[in-house]
């Protein structure tokens, strides 16, 4: 290694900048003296722990280069600690602009490091081939005991396009072998009830996090089985059609740990869809059991599909309305969501949201973040809203063009008024006029 370093120095020393050369010469001299002083301080003798520490800061490619330097570094390159966590990127040139993990590297990992892997994620582009490649890797991970597994579709849900049986058999390999899986993120995949049963049979003691939004092959009974058996489950993400009173009751059972995070996606499959309701008593049970849990709800509904929602009090903390939502529904949010912390409304109808916002400011005393997209609000009402919330509003985002100037405030006043009440500088969001 010393040789290599000297070689580098000579190269650098050959540069044209005089000043640089001088310092280099000096440092070379100093280093030579030092080298003479303690012959022992050689790079190859660097203790493995320190090398490991350094390697942990290097990206994979740099580690690979470093591994060519000497035997010691090559050994360090293969230390299990460096292979606990890996992100496979599977992309096809025809469907992605990004590079994929090199196939040789994948082979190497499967051959030499599969038993070291603990935190694994797969990022997959929109092609079926990539999803299949991910599953091929998964099914070869027979020696490993994963703690975390994430299957992430970066563009379109490509796992949904592959044969379900292939997907299931690959996934169950992990379930059966791992035994101590704690986090599982399998949104937008064809996972089904029987495979969840395998998960439960093998990992019920360790599972803490399960994210499975938009998994159409899972039924309410399938997720109920997970909730019944996995008493350590703290975070759960699923679609509304899987949410049931029974599920909430199961999650609030005495044996169950406190739930920390429940995310529900409410997506309409076809217009005019009827959604079931959840009893207030079930939410109350949840609240008694896990008084601090976050309930995060994403709504992607047409305005007229909100019928069953927000009729009774609901312990929701984070609300996201991805589509237009009526004044009526937002009025109900103000009445029935006392725990609300964060509210995002992408759009509402034609009339300004004034009274609704004021009511939310009055009743949602925890509210600290709000984002408004295409929601008209009069400047006065907006200022009043901010005044009522004051500096507890840590996030406040609204597009300038939806603020309606009125007799009290114009668009130029609003930034001052709002900044005053927030106690910090604030501006509305701008979009380019072109």
């Amino acid at each position: 290694m010393k040789r290599g370093l000297q070689g580098n120095k000579q190269e650098d020393g050959g540069g044209t900048s005089g000043g640089c050369q001088k310092t280099l010469k000096r440092s070379r001299k100093q280093r030579r003296e030092k080298d003479l002083e303690d012959e022992e301080s050689r790079w190859e003798c660097l203790p493995q722990e320190i090398l490991l520490h350094i390697f942990q800061y290097l990206p994979l490619l740099d580690r690979a280069f470093a591994s060519q330097v000497c035997r010691g570094w090559n050994e360090a390159f293969h230390m299990p600690e460096l292979w606990r966590c890996f992100e496979f990127e599977l992309n096809q040139p025809a469907s992605s602009y990004l590079k994929a993990t090199h196939p040789d590297l994948i082979k190497q990992i499967i051959k030499r490091h599969s038993d070291h892997l603990q935190y694994v994620s797969f990022k997959v582009d929109s092609s079926r081939e990539s999803a299949e490649a991910a599953c091929d890797i998964l099914s070869q991970l027979v020696n490993c005991s994963l703690k975390t597994l994430g299957l992430i579709s970066t563009a379109r849900p490509s796992f949904m396009e592959m044969p379900k049986s292939h997907f299931i058999s690959a996934l169950t390999v992990v379930f059966v072998n791992s035994k101590s899986l704690s986090s599982l993120k399998i949104d937008d995949t064809p996972v089904d009830d029987p495979s969840l049963k395998v998960l439960v049979a093998n990992n019920s003691d360790t599972l803490k996090l399960l994210k499975m939004s938009s998994c159409p092959h899972v039924s309410p009974a399938g997720i109920l089985c997970v909730a019944d058996q996995c008493h350590g489950l703290r975070e759960l993400a699923l679609n509304y059609h899987l949410l049931s009173d029974e599920l909430l009751i199961a999650l609030s059972s005495e044996k169950h740990v406190h739930l920390e995070h429940l995310r529900i996606d409410v997506v309409s499959e076809n217009p005019g869809q009827q959604f079931h309701t959840i009893k207030k008593s079930s939410w109350d049970a949840m609240m008694r059991h896990s008084p601090k849990f976050n309930l995060v709800m994403y709504f992607f509904l047409y305005e007229d599909e909100f019928g069953p929602f927000f009729r009774d009090e609901i312990p929701v903390t984070h609300l996201y309305f991805g589509r237009s939502v009526s004044k009526d529904v937002l009025g109900r949010v103000g009445l029935n969501c006392p725990r609300l912390v964060e509210l995002v409304v992408c759009a509402n109808g034609l009339r300004p949201l004034d009274e609704e916002l004021i009511r939310i400011a009055q009743r949602c005393t925890q509210l600290s973040a709000i984002g408004l997209g295409e929601c008209e609000v009069s400047c006065s009402a907006f200022v009043e809203f901010v005044k009522m919330c004051g500096d507890r509003l840590t996030q406040l985002s609204i597009m300038e063009e939806v603020l309606v100037p009125d007799h009290r405030y114009g668009l130029d006043d609003i930034h001052w008024e709002v900044s005053k009440h927030l106690g910090r500088v604030w501006f509305p969001d701008m979009m380019p006029t072109w």
Binding site: G322, I370, E401
Partner: protein
Amino acid sequence: MALNSIHWFRKGLRLHDNPALREAVQGAATVRCVYFLDPWFAGSSNVGVNRWRFLLQCLEDLDANLRKLNSRLFVIRGQPANVFPRLFKEWKISRLTFEYDSEPFGKERDAAIKKLAMEAGVEVIVKISHTLYDLDKIIELNGGQPPLTYKRFQTLISRLDPPEMPVEMLTDTLMGRCVTPVSEDHGDKYGVPSLEELGFDTEGLPSAVWPGGETEALTRIERHLERKAWVANFERPRMNANSLLASPTGLSPYLRFGCLSCRLFYFKLTDLYRKVKKNSSPPLSLYGQLLWREFFYTAATNNPRFDKMEGNPICVRIPWDKNPEALAKWAEAKTGFPWIDAIMTQLRQEGWIHHLARHAVACFLTRGDLWISWEEGMKVFEELLLDADWSVNAGSWMWLSCSSFFQQFFHCYCPVGFGRRTDPNGDFIRRYLPVLRGFPAKFIYDPWNAPESVQAAAKCIIGVHYPKPMVHHAEASRLNIERMKQIYQQLSRYRGLGTRSENINLYFIFMMRKLSGPHGSHSCDSFQNLHEKNSFKAKPGFYSAGVFFSSKQEVLCDGITCSSLMSVTCSSSVQFYLYNSPLKLLYIVKTPQ
């Protein structure tokens, strides 16, 4: 020896407020105004017929106006680098003038021509008149980096002197003794070509909705100001069904080609505001349209990769989907969403769409629904949109796809609801998509939801006469919001899988803001004082808090506003970690008087 000049037109196709052109005639015996056009390149270029027509009309108009001064326009067939040396010799040229081009490609081309001119002993005079400001000054004021937020840009602008006044229009008096030698065969050699000559098929081409040329531009600006004066309202006009249509007061294509001087527009707006509002000084928002353009020119001027994702330092890498079929459906107005398809039809037919309509289709193509790269959308706009300037086009696309300039990404335009709110009756759709004319307003934005009987009565069966929607919008936007979150989680090195994640959207916006603030060292004097003395008395105004990135000084926070009497002290420095590197944040806190 007589002084012979060439004025080289590129953009800036006008005689009013054209400082470089004035330099050309100043003290010159002859002047020749040239425009380079490569006819072999025209047909194969990425520019659509509407843009070519607009350009040719501009040139016609320029030629007509030059004739009034006993001059002519010389349209030269060929490439500047090949032809200039010959022209310099043939016409015994000693001076070349042109308008400054701030775009990286233009700067490169101009540097080459300057070199050629120097070699031929030709003096070169370059003047800034396509932008309000000298963009390099803005960058300098920001510590050598272009500002990355519009707010920051506005702050910088407010510290600059107002733009220079427009110069006088070229007239007979200004021409003085300067003449243009015109030969008999000028028309054959240097005339403005027709679209047919450029290889375009003009059969069935409807007449231009946006006629090109300086004369038209000057008529429009008067109309534009009259209307503003009449409504006496300088706020952004509220969007309605009418604003979607091409307006005879629209100016953007004229600004793009330089048929209208942005400085003239700027000062006319100022005058009018002062007149109507009784001498109160106009707010920056009055110039919104002009300043956005300026913002993107500034961001792009030193970044040759501004129109790319890869290798572009200000662009976030997003794993966009490559999907040529879906892209083609979008570009050809076959998405099955009438709102999107009507806008794309208008764009193809007329060459202009309202800026909110641009937001709608850009959001749909990229982060909203199709998850296709903004670069693809930008290329389509490049072909079809009359006012698509390289910098402004790329910049707006990055903005709208949330790839840069860091703004809220939680909000996606709904391809059904957005249009319905703007034009509840659907007249815009019926105008551009006649096949849907028979649908009642209730279903015109989502005709696939109409009962069969309604479709039959409208004589348009969805899936037969008009396509079914190409995506399930609710599902797509759910997915894409997730994708965006993933990307920004990574950017902020947010603890990944397996750890608890409490916050949703706004958290990430917040992180983005933290990471994105304007870079470079601040020029605010008080900031230095603050650092040295830990306390200072602030004058009223806007101050920024500073963050030190190890040794490099970076400013990340938006700023703090002080009212006139408030004193500001620096209370403490706080360590926190971002991007795994230790940061030191200087808090500036308000203290009681």
